[in-house]
Symmetry: C2
Subunit: 302 residues, 2 copies
Amino acid sequence: MTGIMDQARDYFVGLQSGIVQALESLDGQAFALDQWERPEGGGGISRVIEEGALFERGGCNFSHVMGDRLPPSASAHRPELAGRRWEAMGVSLVLHPRNPYVPTVHMNVRLFMTFTSSQQDRDVDGWCGGGMDLTPYYGFEDDARHFHLQCKNALDPFGKQWHPRFKRWCDEYFFLKHRQEARGVGGIFFDDLSEPSLEEAFALTRSVGDSFLDAYVPIVEKRRSTAYGERERDFQAYRRGRYVEFNLVFDRGTLFGLQSQGRTESILMSMPPIVKWRYNWRPEPDSPEASLYELIKPKDWV
Amino acid sequence: MTGIMDQARDYFVGLQSGIVQALESLDGQAFALDQWERPEGGGGISRVIEEGALFERGGCNFSHVMGDRLPPSASAHRPELAGRRWEAMGVSLVLHPRNPYVPTVHMNVRLFMTFTSSQQDRDVDGWCGGGMDLTPYYGFEDDARHFHLQCKNALDPFGKQWHPRFKRWCDEYFFLKHRQEARGVGGIFFDDLSEPSLEEAFALTRSVGDSFLDAYVPIVEKRRSTAYGERERDFQAYRRGRYVEFNLVFDRGTLFGLQSQGRTESILMSMPPIVKWRYNWRPEPDSPEASLYELIKPKDWV
């Protein structure tokens, strides 16, 4: 069973490097590379871009961290595992483009393992999680459809049941309860997946990671030259506030990272570069800004 | 015992109105007034300023909310009260000045009551909480000393034991664990106070509310005309990110509000108007920005 961790490490490191290479050639600017170690065990490779031509801020991080006692935020759904030795490994990506017509995107694939004792590595519980979701500012139905279709294509080879389930899970997970608002147009989200076997769950997870560029890059290419002005930048900065609210109040990955003495700067690479808050603001009826609030209402896209 | 709620309401509404009047005359711009009702019970009066000459964004809110079952975030320290009927009332204030030489400030005073049954209003558990704390960007030792001295003066008439205790509590509460950094230069913080009697605890709480203007206004007057440029505004926007991180990840009041279907826009008036995040940024050694990190290390100010 330990073989899966070595396999996973090779896969995740390769995925990060392939994605970063593709994004660098899209942007024209290189991602900085930061290798770090975690005093409590493990470490990671953070690849970060700031002030790029295309990406105002973003990152694609690999991390492999471990601990002697599983923290509560990781085991809410598996209380019987609390306190176990654990390892978590994965790639996590958030990109905040400068052009408000290019959507923000998030992708994450991860493998989580718990061990009953350091001597009994064969006696493990492991599961996979991940997904990707799209957060437009000035959005397009075509883009949402394309993104959802790619998500479906990634999952269908593993069974037709997964896409509807993970699509709905995404709509539920990325919902800002205090705003009664979706974070964006959604995508897919899954966690605690070890069916039908951990190996097959990990194959599905890899398929999600491998689909990311096909899901996102065509949208970038289609929208990156759309002209925009101060009005669009202002609305983008305002809407990015929702992204901050979601990640800091609700996101399990962020809270787990901050609780488990994760590397703060790598976890918070998801924060947008410039954000605005305004009191009780509403878009004008029938404005392009108002249409976003319609677009992000959860619906069947494929 | 119900008399205390009516008394408290009069006090809190008067405090809000007095503070807003003083701040309006400092700024020159009126605070907007928003009266709201909460579908689950209660409501409030939000007073908000945006794009003022002095205050870029800020608010001073009164709220009086109630519910049939106490949510978990309110009773972490009093698990025996979970599920009880409750009422909470208070004034909460956050001001984000435009000039980076004028510190951000937060003040809150509140009264919390729980009832074992709607028929037995005499059988209640109640407590007070509150405090105030100062968050400079380009800070001054004199200002920190003045602020702490006013906090001490507010508490000393009720016993010399309170100020050291509430000062330390503030340092502990407004600490960003994931950054290993204090939010600012501190002040005082207290909660769950019903000693030696609820009446006396509420008198102490009123004294804190009544001291706010004396603690903050002299600092504003001293610093509001200091010249600043893009560099100072940029550092202010960056440091405001810490304020967002604290309030959304750690602040009990914010989490309680969002969990108890509070009024989101009133709760999040604490969010700064413009915020920036940057990867792994550190101030240059011996720069004015670096000196802030020394100033905010918890220390005895009075």
